[in-house]
Amino acid sequence: MKRFLRMSYLAASIGGVMFFAMSVVLLGVWPGRTLDHDIHAMSPPHPMDLTASEQHGRTIYSREGCAYCHTEQIRYIESDTRRFGAATLAWETRFDYPHLWGTRRIGPDLSREGAVRSNDWQLTHLYQPREVVADSVMPAYDWLFDGAPDRPKQDALDVLAYLETLGRNRALAGAEGDAHARAACDCSEDEKRFGFSKPLNASPAMAQRGPVPALTISNDLAPGRAVYASNCASCHEGSAPGLRPKPANLAAHQYTMAALSDALWNGRAGTSMPAWRDLSLADLSAVAAAVREKSQPQTDSIADQLGERIYKSNCAQCHGERGAGDGSAASQFTIAPVNFVQQRASLEYAQNAIKNGIDGSPMAAWKTRLTDEEIAAVARYVRAFYQP
């Protein structure tokens, strides 16, 4: 009897070890083999590994627990792909040692963060998130800076470099890479739908150019003021010292509804102004009304011949003959030249901008080449383009 018991305990112990081994094989080794196969079959031929700087940024990202609030994993379901883009493929994670998938999302998923924001925005956000996102609860990582968001230490630049790698390989692989991966993928229709048939990056904040839905002017200003306070004020009212070019001084400008629709819907490429496509059209209309409320009543300017002569010889190449921001050189700039037909600065602001240029944009300072009188004439000239 005793021997029988001993034998059965021996059998049970072996069984116990087998149970554990089975779990490792079934949920670790075997799916790992499948994933390993998928990674090699679906990956584009030469994906980019991380540079030393990017790798160091990843180390900082890891040690600060970023992955405990920001997942790097877009799931194969509608609510994830609609918000963040096509679901994460195994090969996209091939340089992740260890993975940073995360199991909690307090902030948004960052799998495709690379292309979404400007560097200034990322650095300012890292330095003090609430300078650009009023209600953010992200910690401030100001010890990665020398006292100001525009004075990052190497650590902050490395984190920025790492953020810019997120989604990079898949974006570089492009449609061709996705087609290759799709053909090599031994997966269900559902997986194909979420993995491939969605925009790669669905971030509503990514600046882009394209058609704009018409916003309606509302007379009720209260809702717009609320939307403005929680989404816009942190940059446009605050100091936001790290952002170049500086966020627009809304009080010193008049905007047509078309200009506001475009800025809100598409963002301003090359600047820190994101697109606001996650706000409803009603909210966008309301906030446009709130912005127009801020513009002080502007006086008209009369164009004269001096202004015309200087404009045509110095400014029209970028800003266009008729001031619509469509000069022959306009397309070579990431930041589009100002369209004077749709927005009008105050005379003082315009003179200042011509004199000193706009820091962080292609707009140069003209004070060494034009006299004060000439600058005043050009300022009056560009203001006259405005068509409310």
Binding site: F20, G32, R63, G65, C69, T93, Y97
Partner: protein
């Protein structure tokens, strides 16, 4: 019922000084761990409260909070309990009291304290339940090996013929943690992203399923009969529950990554195992609660009451776990505060209540030790109240977040909506910390003399 003040079972086999050392270390590290948790919770309600110090930034505190709970509080309390229970179950002393002090030193001064310090200094790994850096893992593994050397030989000395179920759980936990720990800590560093995540999923569940749960159940199976003086309801059920548990728990891992790129068959397998696990827990809990019958719904003995409450919470949290592994529910609540509520129900509810009960039970039986039952009653109510408020609060927060994520609302709306709930959660630190202070007081003060007389 056992009268705590009576000199019951002086237990000459028990190394009581090690029970006391680990017991005190457990509660002291618990205070530090919940302080980490509290400041992290507060930072969600008031993000700039810590004033931009890297040492107090959310991520590092979050790492130290859970690692402190796992190694400091639960680890020490488990060890304290093992020093009490293993000799009583096996009838033999543990291998060596000297070795015990080595394990105590390793566990606290080579794992918990330097682990915390290194995480705060920026050396860690971003893997759940594995945040301490790799250098600490070497000491964890060494300590686990020494713990196996310390506690396993007494069981094997006379053969396993009459081994009680708690002994089985203890053997299982010590052996399988030793297997699972290196896997969860090392493999994701060595294999790329998605493959590493598959192994992380295994370890996330093994930490709970092969370390915390078996040792907590060993306590429950030990304390309930010892405190009620009645045998366990069914030894057959207890063995069935044990084997099903060790079969099913490790197979749950992938349920942390449902709808991910990990092959669907592994996900389905894990979800199936998660469902079946719910049934196993019903069986285990039924067996335990039937064993506690006769002591009433609400046992007077504080140790027993903590344990039976922990057992009930085990049932609740496991059924919740089975449910939230289902795709229809997981799709919405995954990534949300719902899961944080779940993990607190598991760790602060099931594990902490059971472990506190085990500690109290072992403490009562140390000759001449200080012990204050009314203080422990106070601890019980403060902890239960704090836990329930936190659980309900986080569950609602999770549902609100899930609802907003499913809508077209901007992401930041879900953060705004969660903030009042985060504030309430941070405030639950008050009853919970007072509760743990009362627990500490209950084990370090005596009753006022006129009552004790």
């Amino acid at each position: 019922m056992i009268q705590p003040e009576a000199e019951v079972n002086p237990a000459p086999l028990v190394a009581t000084r090690l029970v006391q050392a680990h017991g005190i270390a457990a509660i002291l590290t618990l205070f530090v761990s919940i302080l980490f948790g509290f400041v992290a919770a507060l930072e969600l309600a008031a993000p700039d409260v810590a004033g931009g110090s890297p040492l107090l930034s959310w991520g590092r505190l979050r790492y130290d909070h859970t690692q402190g709970i796992l190694f400091g509080w639960l680890g020490n309390a488990f060890l304290a309990f093992l020093y009490h229970a293993v000799p009583l179950i096996s009838g033999r002393r543990v291998t060596s009291e000297r070795l015990g002090y080595w394990i105590f030193g390793l566990w606290n001064f080579a794992v918990v304290l330097p682990g915390w310090a290194l995480v705060l200094a920026g050396f860690s790994q971003p893997l759940e339940w594995a945040e301490f850096p790799l250098v600490i893992d070497a000491f964890v593994i060494l300590a686990l090996i020494l713990a196996a050397v310390q506690f396993l030989p007494p069981f094997f000395a006379d053969g396993l013929e009459d081994l009680y179920v708690s002994g089985w759980y203890i053997i299982g936990a010590l052996v399988f943690t030793l297997f699972a720990y290196p896997m969860g800590n090392l493999v994701p560093e060595l294999v790329p992203g998605a493959i590493g995540a598959a192994f992380s999923g295994l370890w996330i569940h093994d930490a709970v399923g092969l370390f915390v749960t078996p040792l907590a159940l060993a306590i429950a199976y030990f304390v309930i009969p010892a405190a009620t003086g009645r045998p366990i309801y069914s030894h057959f059920l207890s063995m069935l529950g044990f084997w099903l548990l060790f079969f099913l728990y490790p197979l749950n891992g992938t349920h942390h990554y449902v709808f991910s790129v990990i092959p669907m068959s592994a996900q389905i397998g894990a979800i199936t195992a998660s469902t079946l696990l719910g049934f196993d827990v019903i069986l285990v809990v039924a067996n335990l609660l039937l064993s506690a019958r006769g002591s009433g719904w609400f046992p007077r003995d504080p140790g027993l009451r903590f344990v039976t409450t922990g057992t009930v919470l085990y049932l609740v949290v496991s059924i919740q776990g089975s449910l939230q592994a289902q795709m229809a529910i997981n799709r919405s609540v995954h990534f949300s505060d719902w899961v944080i509520g779940h993990s607190h129900l598991a760790m602060l509810g099931f594990a902490t209540f059971t472990v506190a009960g085990g500690l109290i039970h072992a403490w009562q039986r140390i000759p001449g030790v200080r012990y204050n039952a009314p203080m422990l009653d106070l601890a019980y109510w403060l902890l239960l109240g704090g836990l329930l408020v936190m659980f309900v609060d986080l569950t609602i927060a999770g549902l609100v977040e899930a609802h907003l994520w499913n809508s077209a609302a901007p992401w930041i709306d879900s953060v705004r909506a969660a903030r009042p709930y985060w504030l309430v959660r941070a405030l639950t630190f008050l009853p919970i910390s007072l509760g743990f202070m009362a627990l500490f007081g209950g084990l370090t003060t005596d009753l006022p003399t006129e009552e004790a007389a």
